[in-house]
Amino acid sequence: MAEEKAKGKKKEKVPRQKMLEQKPEDRVQNFDEVPFGYTPELARLEAGRCLQCKKPKCIDGCPVEIDIPAFIQLIYEGDFMGAAHKLKEQNSLPAICGRVCPQEDQCEKVCILGKKDEPVAVGRLERFTADWERAQGEIEIPEKDPPTGKRVAVVGSGPAGLTLAGDLIKKGHEVTIFEALHKTGGVLVYGIPEFRLPKAIVQAEVDYLAQLGVEIKAGHVIGRIKTVDELSEEGYDAIFLGLGAGLPLFMNIPGENLCGIYSANEYLTRSNLMKAYLFPEYDTPIAKGKNVTVLGAGNVSMDSARTALRLGADKVRIVYRRSRVEMPARIEEVHHAEEEGVEFHLLTTPTRCMGDDDGWVTGMECIRMELGEPDESGRRRPIPIKGSEFSMDCDLVVVAIGAGANPLLPTTTPGLELNKRGYIVADEEDGKTTKKGVWAGGDIVTGSATVILAMGAGRHAANSMHDYLMNGQTTWP
């Protein structure tokens, strides 16, 4: 069986394999991960569906160009460790990507099998492989290139920074990560909830970098404790800025500063990073609404809504100004949220928040919307319907309408050009900023995007930095 090739073998039709998962009524009672993942049998069954295309489209769909047919073939052959190594050639965080990549828009979207049938479950296979490797407990520490004597500072420990750090330490450079929060991982630890991405997985990746020799300085807010220029003066030969898009946006409507109105960042940070869902065992409190409204319909909103349910809400509503087709969240997340009982109020937007004498939110006034002509995002612009105002009771509101660029570091870094929305201007190909010796990548350049795109940006910047450090390039665009 192990030698048997998937290639060329006549396939009986096997349906796309589902992962076993917690039942909705059980999982809203806990913060454990929802899917259990594939068993080795299911993984091999799913791997067998891959056509091993000569011109595999799936690879083009993956921002880091994983050799998808190759790792799937290894799974099919039962060589799970081989598959894990194959994955790691291109993707240093497969356990994370397998869970949170919007596969339906990337590798799986273009999978050739998907034309007539459902696409191969690339993400689930990736997740299976990485989990299997981790469960073996023998993560291989690769050989590092001889020391180059060059020092690299990485600001921010999200997927962009982690990827870059991993690449450069292997190339023999000395790498230090500076992270503002007390824990490393960026959105992976403070934003995405435990039930979607267990924090132990992120910690394992960070520990791996530490084992490789990356120095990690958490609790270091660059721009305050040290500026970027001071890092250069201290002898860092190259600096990468992977700051993320960590500025919460608000609606700017009356009453928005009432108690019980959170930005999604605050709500999720309290719950995930500070473990408020374990209060009072952990000291950080979080308001447990009974009747919760979440504004916005992206992944962040789904995460907030599902967190609210797990914290004991009776009713959780998502209020979104456009319609279902425009919702930016992953299909799987919307599906999970609906299964768990989250209600969707579409074509609706709040105009005002109301509160009681203690300053606690009691409700929102909303207005109904209709869709007009497409706007600059290509989506049809929502227009308020006059006279359609109505009010909605709630005791907790989570504002999840998007994020911006935090100005803290940019304003203390002369010579760093920003675009008009405050994001750092960097070369699309190699991540070079307008400041010599400084690269940037991930959400701080593109605006809120995805884990895999941030990782891709980290990889490209790492390659460019390595060139610069080794060839002593002195010109700067």
């Binding site: 503002a180 960590g246 919460p248 959170y262 960042n265 605050e266 940070t269 009072p280 803290l408």
Partner: protein, 278 residues
């Protein structure tokens, strides 16, 4: 991990001062800036102002009032113990310039926050009149230090056990009426105190700076927990403050937001008290 080098208890053990070894922060910190402390692995992140720094020795001083679980836990730490995380320096430093006569008004533990700022105004060549107040004599802190940091120190106690019997605003009014050409008032203390000081200085049309203390989480501008309304606009206190023009601050909103977790804070404190032998 950051080691506590010295511990001093003040004001009948309701206030405590630590000297902590944090060389990088000590080197960089300026008056008006604060740190975020997470005492241990299960701990909350709380902001505390640096009441002093010694860049050479690599130490900072913090002075905190014991008001709940985290400050209670911190007080239980002894010299030699270590704190998990200290993050800083945070916030915009006090903008200190030579103006003429400056009044520094501190109430309660606000005096600790006031102390380095007072010193900085004096060093910048201003004539500094300081007023510090407390409920009662035994709760008064940093009297000697404030005396040295100013040209003229006035003390008030609510119960008259020491200094002027009454509030800091009484003495402030005397001085403003006295015809001194006061260019700036800096007021730091409990919200009601800052509110009354601002109400008064507004009548006299004297610019007043206050240091706000909303609830914070990350203190890097990422969460918006610390939002305050100033001149009708929402501002993030941790990165745009903590100091703002007192005449523009919505103190009502601040007080309400500070009280958002009273129930949880009580649960936390009761649980903590149940765990310590005393």
């Amino acid at each position: 991990m950051f080691r506590i080098l010295e511990k001093r208890e003040m004001a009948e053990r309701t206030v405590c001062e630590f000297k902590i070894e944090v060389p990088d922060i000590a080197k960089k910190a300026q008056p008006g800036q604060f740190v975020v402390i997470r005492a241990n692995e299960t701990g909350e992140r709380i902001p505390l102002t640096m009441a002093g720094t010694d860049p050479e020795a690599g130490t900072i001083n913090i002075i905190f009032q014991v008001v709940g679980k985290t400050t209670g836990l911190l007080r239980s730490f002894e010299e030699g113990d270590e704190i998990s995380d200290i993050i800083g320096p945070l916030g915009v430093p006090t903008h200190v310039e030579k103006l003429g006569t400056v009044m520094c008004v501190g109430g309660g533990t606000g005096v600790a926050v006031m102390y380095p700022i007072t010193k900085a105004y004096k060093e910048a060549g201003n004539h500094v009149i300081a007023i510090i107040g407390a409920r009662t004599k035994d709760l008064l802190i940093l009297e000697e230090e404030m005396k040295a940091a100013s040209h003229d120190l006035r003390v008030t106690t609510d119960d008259g056990s020491y200094g002027h019997h009454g509030f800091v605003t009484d003495v402030l009014k005397q001085i403003l009426d006295g015809g001194d050409d006061v260019k700036l008032v800096v007021a730091i203390g409990p919200v009601p105190m800052m509110k009354f000081v601002c109400k008064m200085t507004k009548e006299y049309d004297v610019k007043t700076v206050v240091s706000l203390n909303p609830i914070m989480v990350d203190a890097t501008g990422m969460c918006g927990a610390c939002r305050v309304s100033v001149a009708g606009k929402t501002r993030f206190c941790c990165v745009e403050g903590p100091e703002f023009d007192g005449h523009q601050v919505d103190f009502e909103e601040l007080v309400k937001r500070q009280r958002a977790y009273l129930t949880e804070e009580k649960v936390s404190l009761d649980r903590f008290m149940g765990q310590i032998p005393e």
